[in-house]
Symmetry: C2
């Protein structure tokens, strides 16, 4: 069997090995059913049990109140970018967007088609290297939308003492969160949100399924003259089975949720993630060669971005890393340098191995 390497991919990303082993064991027969997990009808008892368990685990782990629907949709966060304003925004209203990176910008661009928009804050002036301290909301926004973690720029809304990381939004504003790159990586207060959505391929499972957590009144409030598939109520009424759902992706999300539960739930994985990122930032902060690109009060625990300041040396590092079994460290072109994506399933041992490799590279390439 091939040795697994350290996979720092920004998504699709590494999954827990135990999850992959479990999936492997159920590919030709789910349990003793004699039918593989990929082959079960979504209307059959076997898959319905998988679905119900996955939804229940999601509610338990996320502390999702009973007045929220949990939906498993297709099309990724990119589809939510337009589906949200299509359902909730009208020409006579304004939606507020907190712009902290490329994905927030894309969400805003889609909203413009449907009604008024207001940029409540933006960190574009410094290439999105920080999370703004202050926001200015419009008078009566139909909702405020933010991106909890910025995959490309390595920034994240910070948790303050026990309070989950989120923007300072007035209590009466319906807050919508794109949590694609940090969903269930730390405690989250669902009740302070009107909606949370996330493509699964970073912290929850494979690509091809989007988790949507939506308060009941939003389900009811959505526009009624939309195509059936684009109305949240269609999926809410049919428990995500109006049409054939991505069954295998949902099954894998269920396995990952079990793994999160076994690791202490959101508090447990949150602590591990804090430790993993903490070790890496601690090394980078004292390094003479590498330096983090995100403002120190805005650092992401999921995507750690750093540079040497010399593009050629960055390239040399990435090439050497790949050869030594550290894959996917090349930074996004918008930032350059390196990016270590260390989502939930990325092992602490891999972070330690990376630090060792960084130290070795630094020693060999010490500045003159």
């Amino acid at each position: 069997m091939t040795q697994r390497i350290w996979n720092f991919s920004a998504g699709p990303a590494v999954l827990p090995e135990s999850v992959l082993e479990e999936a492997k064991n159920n590919l030709l027969s789910l349990g003793t059913s004699g039918i593989g997990i990929l082959e079960h009808s979504h209307r059959g008892k076997a898959f319905l049990a998988v679905y119900e368990e996955t939804e229940a685990l999601c509610r338990e782990i996320g502390g999702i109140p009973s007045n929220y629907k949990v939906l498993f949709l297709q099309g990724g966060a990119s589809s939510q970018f337009y589906q949200i304003p299509m359902n909730f925004l009208t020409k006579d209203r304004t939606a507020d967007y907190l712009v902290t990176g490329v994905w927030s910008e894309k969400a805003l661009e889609e909203a413009v088609r449907f009604g008024g928009t207001h940029t409540a804050c933006s960190s574009q002036d410094k290439n999105f290297s920080y999370i703004p301290h202050e926001c200015s909301f419009s008078a009566n926004p139909v909702y405020a939308h933010y991106t909890s973690n910025n995959t490309i720029f390595g920034t994240q809304w910070q948790s303050v003492s026990a309070a989950p990381g989120m923007p300072p939004v007035p209590a009466n504003v319906d807050l919508i969160c794109d949590a694609s790159s940090d969903i269930f990586s730390r405690p989250i207060d669902v009740s302070k949100h009107a909606m949370i959505y996330a493509g699964a391929q970073k912290n929850l499972g494979p690509s091809g399924v989007t988790l949507v957590i939506l308060r009941d009144d939003l389900v009811e409030r959505g526009a009624k003259d939309l195509p059936t598939m684009l109305q949240y109520r269609t999926h809410a009424k049919n428990e995500s089975m109006y049409n054939t759902p991505p069954t295998f992706a949902i099954y894998l999300v269920g396995l990952v949720l079990k793994w999160i539960k076994a690791n202490g739930g959101l508090a447990g994985v949150g602590e591990i993630n804090r430790r993993k990122a903490g070790k890496l930032y601690a090394y980078l902060d004292q390094s003479q060669l590498f330096k983090p690109t995100a403002a120190s009060d805005s650092r992401s625990q999921m995507n750690v971005t750093f540079v040497t300041g010399d593009a050629d040396l960055d390239a040399k590092f990435c090439s050497a890393a790949t050869k030594s079994g550290f894959d996917g460290l090349k930074g996004h072109r918008s930032v350059g340098g390196m990016r270590a994506s260390i989502y939930n399933a990325f092992p602490e041992a891999g972070v330690e191995a990376l630090i060792g490799f960084l130290q070795k590279f630094e020693a060999e390439n010490a500045k003159a």
Copy 2:
């Protein structure tokens, strides 16, 4: 290892065992990459190779001309039901729909939102038990839409001598086909269509990916004021990677296409499918207990629907079948009775086993 049973599910459906074995072997490491197929970045070399091979195989097997795009989208056929009229139909134009079942009806219902529609034919008068012989098209339809195989009612547009099964549409009309339940189960003439689409979960792979084959001029012609994700040009320009595609589902489609190729391509699997369905219909035609529900000139090679004429006896049969390892034979509530879905990957030996079981049940339950 658990014995696999005969899976007659209408979708998600049985996959070739060799495909499942191959996927199983690549779950923890795709080849020698050290990263599982689920965990590879969609932008990385390993997955791009998978993607390119899958697209090339699709073009080769389907005989897809170079002026067609091959896209792998999300949201199932149900999303195409609205996306097609949203892109191509306008208030001042008419689209023609050939209504041969529930899925055609749903496609038509979504089109009504966007412009004029005309029902070119319908078999609703006899509970969709036949394929109409005649169609009456409108003067200048923007397109004509048909469902090549009707999963629920067990009917299919018939192939006539060597000509692939399709409706008698005037040559100048842009023909769009929902081929979800018979895609690549027999030869198809792509060049006679403007667009062919299919959810993968019956003949091509798992649920969660939709194959869309689209002529270049339609890509260009589509409405330009739509959300980015809903414009076909977005996906055409970005080779289905504008956003993160369902990587594992695409990989599995590639494996299934290799299996189709190894089985003689569309001519080869078409011959096997004709033989499988032929054996089952031959038994049903001479049976004193069971009778097929579809008109004899409209029978599907994919979904064989039949009844005893006695709902209690149907239920007794389904229950006995399940106990004997024949799963998923209960018919859709719109038709009642039984449905044997015998897509590409359903083995001929399973059809023979079912015939044996039907004979045994008939002998034990002979009409007085």
